[in-house]
């Protein structure tokens, strides 16, 4: 009887533990994509500043509320602007940024094809 009880308790706690772990990895994953606005060059994940500590808590609370990753980014973009996320949005200003690698890639491919076909 006692053994069964122990087993149940063990299962219960291990389940709880893995659930907490899962949330923490999700918080880590999201905060790695957030720029710490008062400590340039660091992500919210890396920083221990007051701002970053609170931000981690906010992200955790949002996950507990059942918010999706994208919803959290949108929420923070609404509060702090696009600068808060590392990945720039595709718009008029960032069009070149996103398209140049693709153009260069295609150009490189063409060069290779030409070289190969000449041989």
């Amino acid at each position: 009887m006692l053994k069964i009880l122990k087993l149940i308790l063990l299962l219960y706690f291990s389940f709880n533990f893995s659930y907490a772990n899962e949330i923490n990895t999700k918080v880590d994953q999201i905060t790695k994509n957030l720029r710490c606005l008062i400590c340039q060059g660091q992500s919210v994940y890396d920083s221990q500043s007051d701002f970053a500590v609170s931000m981690k808590l906010v992200v955790k609370n949002k996950i507990d509320e059942g918010k999706e990753e994208e919803e959290i980014y949108d929420y923070l973009k609404n509060k702090y602007g696009e600068w808060i996320v590392y990945e720039p949005e595709l718009n008029q200003n960032t069009f070149l940024l996103w398209s140049i690698p693709l153009i260069l890639f295609a150009f490189g491919g063409l060069l290779i094809i030409r070289k190969v076909s000449i041989k």
Partner: protein
């Protein structure tokens, strides 16, 4: 001939890079989200500093006219500097809501007892999450928030100055 094309290609690439970098020089590197008109979630609950009572923040705002929200802490030296200006705003009968950021209630109360209390109500933000709802990055920060639309009309990062006072007064009148 192909040498010429190569040279022209190189020149063109260099010119494009030059133009992009030149344009980049004029871009302001200061981080500022002052222009953001984000909405505040008025369903937020918060604890009052003086009575420990938990209230809904919508109760603090005047529904018809804009209010001033000031994030402060007793440990923050610039907050001490700007306090005189908040007192002046209070004398102009302006509704100022204080958010006490990561502070001990005892120190916060001492601060207000010795320098005067400009706030109609002070709510506490022990973990800093409420300040994030306002889009704050630290202390002190001051916001003008519309009671009608819950939107941020104006945001001041850092301590207020005497020039800001006139601007705040005008903004409040314009948006009343």
């Amino acid at each position: 001939m192909s040498k010429n094309i190569k040279f022209l290609g190189l020149l063109l690439t260099l010119i494009i890079i030059f133009i992009i970098l030149l344009k980049g020089l004029n871009v302001s590197k200061d981080y500022s989200n002052e222009k953001l008109k984000s909405k505040i979630d008025f369903s937020l609950n918060a604890k009052k500093l003086f009575s420990d009572e938990i209230i809904n923040i919508s109760d603090l705002f005047d529904k018809n006219s804009p209010s001033v929200v000031n994030i402060w802490a007793s440990w923050c030296a610039p907050c001490r500097e700007e306090h005189q200006f908040l007192m002046k705003l209070k004398d102009m009968n302006i509704n100022i809501i204080g958010i006490n950021y990561k502070d001990s209630p005892k120190n916060a109360k001492n601060f207000l007892n010795s320098l005067g209390n400009p706030y109609s109500e002070v709510i506490t933000d022990n973990d800093g999450t409420k300040s994030i709802e306002f889009g704050a990055i630290g202390v002190p920060e001051t916001f003008i928030i519309s009671g009608k639309t819950n939107e941020i009309i104006k945001k001041y990062i850092g301590p207020l100055t005497s020039e800001n006072l006139i601007e705040i007064k005008n903004l409040l009148e314009e948006n009343a």
